[in-house]
Symmetry: none
Subunit: 131 residues, 2 copies
């Protein structure tokens, strides 16, 4: 649970993600159009990516490098994800309800980041950049 909060916290703006993934802004937004990631937004509408988002982008990049096209990548990464299926069919206006305010989430994340044990499995980006 704590790991989940830590890795889903919307933290990184576009520029950071571009550097971490070596993808262009165009590419990153394109993959979002295809629902492979759904980054949160700042109050001012800037995209904010989580560690999970960055992981996912690196997976997409990997698969593309292997010659797999978007349709295949979707099939692979969004497999039996009913939420994504819905999004795929139609722009769903149903947003996930927020249980926490942004402020509360921030505090939780920081706490988790600070206190989190090392027993959580590493994400791709963590392995690549932070170990």
């Amino acid at each position: 649970m704590s790991s989940h909060i830590r890795r889903t916290m919307p933290l990184f703006p576009m520029g950071t993600v571009m550097k971490l993934t070596d993808l262009s802004a165009r590419q990153i937004r394109y993959y979002e159009q295809h629902h492979l990631i759904t980054p949160d937004r700042s109050e001012g509408n800037r995209r904010l990516y989580s560690l999970n988002d960055i992981d996912r982008l690196l997976e997409v990049k990997d698969l593309l490098d292997q010659g797999i096209n978007m349709a295949g990548i979707k099939k692979i990464l969004l497999k039996d994800d009913s939420q994504a299926e819905k999004l795929e069919t139609k722009e769903s206006s149903a947003k996930p309800k927020k249980e926490f305010t942004d402020e509360e989430l921030r505090k939780l994340l920081r706490k988790e980041l600070i206190n989190a044990g090392r027993f959580n499995r590493s994400s791709e980006v963590e392995r690549r950049f932070f170990h």
Copy 2:
């Protein structure tokens, strides 16, 4: 990629650092004025912080929370850091250099003891945040 490069890589813009440290932009820039951090800059002059920078900011925050003032924090964090020494000398070259006397140090120490109850965190952010 070596650990040093990873941890000194200029990655995070101000907003991200504010969230990770719960410090204001004003505070973060103030600590930079005092040479406690020296973030890199983007091509467009935006500050880019590394994991090491964030570590340092959290240390500063910790020490401030313990009632230690900037002078003491500098003494503690910049000790035998030749780069910082150079900067320090350069900036105050026109002014009389204010030394930190034993008396002042004892005062700081007393303050710290009075505010004791917390433990010193000397660990780095990388470990706390991303492992």
